[in-house]
């Protein structure tokens, strides 16, 4: 991987929330990178810290959330050190977001067109008439029929799929370098999901936008991503090219996730689910965080494993894998 290609590099990110019940360490030591134009997926069960990671990148955490440690380099600049004013120039302009729930994520009392136009007018020096034309072109691009009409519609009048297309149009409006899509299809019908994903994929390739796709659905990952980051309880546990993950998963958690996903060819009759739940951030075991649910755990797992590179571009956080490498040597 050439150094110059890296668009976003997150290193040792630590994000905590201060709540009345004490400090919630939602993200502990997360590191990953995204190259220009690359499509990367973060997968993991609910509560593993995916959304917190993405909101940390955008610096959009709620007041109680705080980035404790680490760095987030985007185009060579550390976002954590930027002033709020400089950060605003990045939001919507260079990094845009698509959220999970398109209805509640759109302002109910503002027309769709105005909401998209707002970004354009904010970040680009252009006149209103031009901006309007841009918005209509965008709506066209994301496959919305009769864009002039939709331009002056309010969000509640559109279907879920149309709303998410609007969100994508909004995200694309300033030609960002990176789009973070946090579970963009979870709230939609299955048939619509596929459409939205293909639009997202197609447009990102066409416009050369990198995508950070957050999901807990490995089917979605298979459809879109070039590379996969698996998160568990606030940590990255495995990170590899899409084929490595699906064909040679190394971490017990990744394996379990794959087993719990229905195979596309329906060869699997029974859907396995991973036993147990993600430990809440307040009661995380001291050693390997997957210890309680792991079928392969042993004495050494009571100490924390490190994220280690086993082959080029494939990183795993598990003692088992480390030992396997050690034994080979």
């Amino acid at each position: 991987m050439k150094e110059s290609e890296v668009l976003l590099e997150v290193k040792n990110l630590k994000t905590h929330f201060n709540t009345i019940n004490g400090v919630v360490p939602s993200v502990e030591d997360v590191s990953f990178y995204i190259n220009k134009g690359e499509k990367v997926a973060i997968v993991g069960e609910s509560g593993s810290g995916k959304s917190v990671t993405s909101l940390s990148i955008m610096r959009l955490l709620s007041e109680t959330g705080k980035i404790i440690d680490g760095s987030i380099h985007f185009c060579g600049r550390n976002l954590i050190e930027l002033s709020e004013k400089d950060m605003r120039k990045i939001r919507g302009n260079e990094i845009a977001m698509v959220f999970q729930e398109p209805l509640s994520s759109l302002n109910p009392v503002m027309t769709v067109g105005k909401q998209i136009m707002e970004s354009i007018l904010l970040h680009q020096k252009t006149r209103k008439q031009n901006a309007k034309q841009q918005v209509i072109d965008l709506l066209n691009k994301v496959g919305i029929p009769r864009p002039e009409k939709v331009f002056s519609s309010y969000p509640h009048l559109l279907s879920g799929g149309m709303r998410q297309r609007v969100m994508i149009a909004m995200a694309l409006s300033c030609q960002p370098k990176l789009i973070i899509a946090d579970e963009p299809t979870t709230a939609l019908d299955v048939t619509i999901q596929a459409q939205i994903l293909s639009i997202l994929k197609e447009l990102s390739e066409q416009e050369e936008v990198a995508i950070l796709l957050i999901t807990h659905d490995l089917g979605v990952v298979a459809e879109v991503a070039d590379r996969v980051i698996v998160m568990y309880a606030g940590q990255v546990v495995e990170q590899a090219e899409i084929f490595s993950i699906f064909d040679y998963p190394k971490h017990p958690y990744t394996k379990a996730l794959l087993n719990s996903t229905p195979k596309l060819d329906f060869s699997q009759t029974e859907l396995l689910s991973i036993e147990g739940t993600v430990p809440s951030p307040m009661e995380i075991p001291t050693g390997c965080r997957f210890y309680d649910r792991c079928d392969f755990s042993s004495e050494i797992c009571k100490q924390s494993p490190e994220l280690k590179e086993i082959t080029d571009g494939h990183q795993v956080r598990c003692w088992l894998v480390e030992e396997a490498i050690d034994n080979r040597i």
């Binding site: 955008m58 939001r91 919507g92 977001m97 959220f99 109910p108 509640h156 909004m170």
Partner: protein, 304 residues
């Protein structure tokens, strides 16, 4: 449009009820003839009046007569002014109107920044201070506030006129007096509304576009908080009218409030009736307007 027409039709029964109440009110408050004539009226005069009002007829017929008179805008002669009552009242309407509009504007101007600030800085000293002040503002009686303002700004500092109507300066103190209670109520409402809105997903979306905190709060947040505010203003119109009546007396403001009080004192029932009617229509009209505005602000409400 059909919605508006439908709404207008719904007003008719309300007017009927009001007319009925006014009719009952006049009939139980004593012999209307005695009330309507000066105290030294002769027996012949009383008899003539009774006949002209149809008081020798059964009650239901009397009500019918009353209704038809009301529809023609005839509330009878004012014996104080020696002329029809309605024109006297209508003449006072602009002054009251002016006072109320000014009071509403002032209360909005005060409450929007305070309510929003209070929500953004929730549970800080600023929030506590604003909340405390608004409780005070709500609890303060109108006449007392009016007198205090007059004392400070007109008598002591001498920067604003004491009373009566005239320039815009004359309007300042009466408008503040009338608007304070509503400003307090609106501030509290906006604060709680804003607290709710601040956590909505679309606020995060707005921030993710790179908008400044100020734009996010005022452009995306405020408009979503305004709905209940409009309802609240509409619901408070009657309270506001009540407040305006008192204020008018305190500041010798020549509006309906002052007229109705002096008419009650003089037992000029024709004028009192006309005043009640005009005020009622005023309140209904304000509610109607709020209903329309509500729909303009919230596109989710359809015209049904």
């Amino acid at each position: 449009m059909t919605y508006i027409i439908k709404k207008l039709f719904q007003i008719i029964p309300v007017l009927f009820i009001i007319s009925f109440v006014v009719f009952i009110f006049v009939n139980v408050s004593g012999d209307p003839v005695v009330l309507m004539l000066p105290e030294d009226a002769s027996n012949e005069e009383i008899k003539a009046m009774q006949e002209s009002l149809g008081l020798d007829k059964p009650v239901i017929v009397q009500y019918g007569l009353f209704l038809s008179n009301v529809m023609k805008g005839q509330f009878g002669q004012s014996f104080v002014y020696k002329q029809e009552a309605l024109p006297i009242v209508l003449e006072r309407l602009p002054a009251t109107f002016e006072l109320m509009i000014a009071a509403i504007i002032i209360s909005i101007l005060i409450s929007i920044p305070l309510g929003v600030l209070s929500a953004i800085k929730r549970n800080t000293f600023i929030d506590l201070f604003i909340s405390g002040t608004s409780v005070l503002g709500k609890a303060m009686p109108n006449f007392w506030l009016g007198l205090m303002l007059m004392l400070v700004f007109s008598v002591y500092l001498q920067i604003l006129p004491v009373s009566s109507r005239g320039s815009l300066l004359h309007l300042v103190l009466p408008a503040i007096t009338t608007g304070t209670a509503m400003a307090a109520e609106l501030t509290r409402m906006l604060r709680s509304q804003m607290l709710d809105v601040l956590h909505q997903d679309y606020m995060r979306t707005a921030r993710s576009k790179g908008l400044s905190h100020f734009s996010v709060v005022y452009k995306h947040g405020l408009r979503n908080s305004l709905l209940p505010v409009i309802t609240l203003i509409a619901l408070n119109i009657s309270t506001l009218v009540g407040g305006a009546l008192v204020t008018e007396v305190v500041f010798a403001w020549p509006g309906i409030g002052q007229l109705v009080i002096s008419a009650v004192h003089a037992r000029d029932m024709a004028v009192v009736q006309a005043c009640i009617f005009v005020i009622a229509i005023f309140v209904i009209g304000a509610n109607f307007l709020a209903d329309i505005l509500y729909r303009v602000v919230d596109p989710r409400i359809k015209y049904r």
